[in-house]
Amino acid sequence: MAKRKRTATQPAVAGGFVATRVEVEGREEIKIVERPAFEPEPWGADAELHIVGQRIPRRDAMEKVTGRACYTADMDRPGMLHTALVRARIARGRVVRLDLAPALAVPGVRDAISEPDAGDIESAGVPLFSAEVRYAGQPIAAVCADTLDIARRAADSVIVEYATAPHAVKAEDVLAHEAPRVRDDGNVASGGRRRTARGDVKRGLDEAEEVIEREYRTQVALHTALEPHGAVAEWDGEHLTVWESTQGIFNTRSDIADALKLPLNHVRVVHEYMGGGFGAKNGASTNAYVAALLSRRTGRPVRCINDREGEQLDSGNRPATIQRVTLAARRDGRLTAMINDAVIPLGIDGWFGGPAKIFHELYSCPNVRTSETFVYTNTGAMNSFRAPGHVEGAFALECAMDTLAAALSIDPLELRMINYAERNEEKDREYSSKRLRECYEKLRDSRLEIRDSKTRSERAESPSESRISNLESRCVRGVGIASQSWGTGGGPPAYALVRLNPDGSVDVLSGTQDLGTGSRTVFAQIAAEALGAKVEDVRVVIGDTERTPYTGNSWGSSTVSSVGPAVRMAAEDAKTQLLEAAAGLLDVDRSQLSVSGSVVRVRRSRRSITFAELGEELGDVMIIGRGSRGPNAEGLTLTSFGAQRAEVEVDVETGVVRVLRITAVHDVGRVINPTLAESQVEGGILQGLGYALFEERVLDDSIGVPLNPTMHDYKIPTLADVPELDVTLLDIADPAANHTGARGLGEPPIIPTAPAIANAVANAIGAEITELPITPWRVLEAIRLRDASRDSRDTASLSAR
């Protein structure tokens, strides 16, 4: 049967199933899901909760501080072999000679594979081990051996000869006339010209009294999770187990089953601990395919983990953007038109997570038009990276808003208030809850240290004055703000089971993942709250396609809002059964019972029964609660919001920017665990700071090869770069989003950080920042251009006299 194409405008309902919209990473999909057997009463803003909302220590912290936490690279199976990949050293061309014999001759080497051994498996946008090289770092062979050291030395001995071909690694180059062919299917991605519009932009421009036009450029950023991509594979007959560092065990399972043509129930994917993902680990990695192939051939378990260079070359990235932005407004600040024409060089593959969407949703404006052109380049494939598209779009939009504010002589925060979007104008829907105005107000009212600082920009007025060698006096300070929207409501399908064991302990089983976000902890809290159990008695089992029921990937800031309701429902279901059993044992009506702290009590009586006593009475008769995530509410958009302010200091002699403080206020609905939530917000801000100031994959354009695939040369923030962080979460439940009242917050905090910093730098030096990262030489260049334009203005006014 042909799959009927479902679009967002055609929700269908059939039987007990219902169609519902789910937004993940800016993509809206229609899911057909069964209606849950029941939907618990939402935990509204005034719900009396005792465990949800508490600062419970991270459940797996003990394993992590003792070194006991077993990550994929720590998996050690009996007889396990180790793998090293051979990667292409050219950006485009053909492998004309590949000789594995020297590797196979190394003692301890067990196998080596290349293109003929890979079948029709595709990974990262190219056929696995393809002799047709399309980017530097593309895997072309793999060697496995008794130890990693032997495998690496053997991989180095593989003889590779290339015939190079012309490459294109920049957007301008792939779009040029007679550009080299990056991929066989063309340089512009199929369907990669995307245009979205509402209203009449031309009319909006005609109505405007102020129009600003700018070009913004953002860089390629690398996820640089400390744990690289990697997998361990082990066959048992026709059954395959893969331990993988992944954000989605079920996605990974279906990828592997598809690639190896296995039934889904012959593949088990396990995720226990993982050292960060940030969007790059949403399916089976190349490493998983290689490990599975080598394991099948050798009959032994095989581990295949990226080395750091491989990780930085070939595990995904946030693509660069070139964005031509026009903002038009009336003198009172009201936007009349917004335009963004963007080109996004994805690399050799990727999906269309572009910068346009935030232009349609962050502000109220009747006329908006965006175009995005997604092109392929001879570089590693794009992959989701924490708020893909919105981070790049927010930089352009929020910097342009500050430029517009300056042109209109309106305070930047005031301009954002003037253009506040009460509803989702892109989809013409209401928000389940939107409290961005409160975020702005809290930001405005929060402590600002440097507003009255005497060091502020006067000293930067002229080059002669700014070039004072005294360190303190050559520093200028500035303040900038930026804001954020991001769909974080999650949705079905997601399932959970809650089991009461005979000793009164409780298991929560759900096939989700914990990337370091704390999902194990918050689900223990939700289950304990709903069941009336002690949180310390609740164990959360996740990350195993054979042990735990389906949930989707941990992406799109959707784990809590998707899986949380399923966990709560499973616990409520278990509680219903538990109360029925207790009512029978205590010979009272169910309505007479209350439950908390793992004890069922009879109201207005001293009689009670603990979960353990109940379990003992029931013996091996199990109480198993089943929960699923229900459909999203019709006609609502589920979005998290926030605003940040950066305070910076710029050394106008060296161009070095130092961020002094970031104040962040975010609206994410109910906060299940404030400590963990604040940690995640701080982490998002710090990644945003790295993106703003240091992080950039640097290529040698002439050969198309990345120059900085190391942690020394690809600069992520260190402890010494950390500013003062002042994080506030509004923590007001959003019961319309789902019955836990929580939306997501993993991605939102990274979105406004870079534009807030850029606006602060612009404020400090009196010159706009239009390109990331804000390296010292870009700051000095901005100052030079500022001075040059002042000089030419002075000259012009002199000659006019």
């Binding site: 220590p57 991270r58 797996d60 912290a61 003990m62 394993e63 992590k64 501080v65 003792t66 070194g67 006991r68 936490a69 077993c70 990550y71 690279a73 720590d74 050690d76 130890t147 990693l148 050291d149 996820h223 640089t224 999770a225 400390l226 744990e227 690289p228 601990y273 993982m274 050292g275 960060g276 940030f278 080395d307 750091r308 990337l515 370091g516 976000t517 704390g518 400590t675 963990l676 940690s679 995640q680 701080e682 982490g683 998002g684 801000i685 710090l686 990644q687 190391t710 942690m711 020394h712 992520i716 923030p717 260190t718 402890l719 010494a720 950390v722 962080l725």
Partner: protein, 156 residues
């Protein structure tokens, strides 16, 4: 090769060019010490050699014979967590946890030389230990809290 790790003796058959990191992870099966950059850039493999911090990925295992090697696995004594470990839990000074063993071992080395570090001293000492989740602010708090605890206990 004879190595003394966390007070226990290990006799390992390893090639002479084996790094201490390989010896720990693949030889002694102590995988708490992590491999991240493999070239002394990130601090994730920090261990102590006779009490001094060292990057295990840049240290030859053979050069560690006759030396006392301390790793994250040996920090808790008789099941009792070290104050640094407790402080990392209490202050939520970790997220994914991959850099955590290196962070804690680096902090341990700091507190051995400076029982009462200022915030600046913690920042300077620990800034070679990278964390991509951004637990940095809480790491500083945890290290200082542990220092205070240790001073109170008279252990430092």
């Amino acid at each position: 090769m004879h190595l003394r790790i966390n007070g226990a003796d290990y006799a390992l058959e390893l090639p002479p060019h084996t790094t201490l990191l390989e010896a720990l992870r693949d030889g002694a099966h102590l995988t708490g010490t992590k491999l991240v950059c493999d070239r002394g850039e990130c601090g994730a493999c920090t261990v102590l050699l006779d009490g001094d911090p060292a990057y295990a990925c840049l240290t030859l295992a053979a050069a560690c014979e006759q030396r006392e090697i301390s790793t994250i696995e040996g920090l808790a004594t008789n099941g009792e967590l070290h104050p640094l470990q407790r402080a990392f839990i209490e202050h939520d000074a970790l997220q994914c946890g991959f850099c955590t063993p290196g962070q804690i071992m680096a902090a341990l080395a700091l507190l051995r030389t400076n029982a009462n570090p200022t915030e600046d001293e913690v920042v300077r000492w620990m800034s070679g230990n990278l964390c991509r989740c951004g637990a940095y602010p809480k790491i500083v708090r945890a290290v200082r809290a542990a220092a205070e605890q240790l001073r109170g206990d008279g252990q430092a």
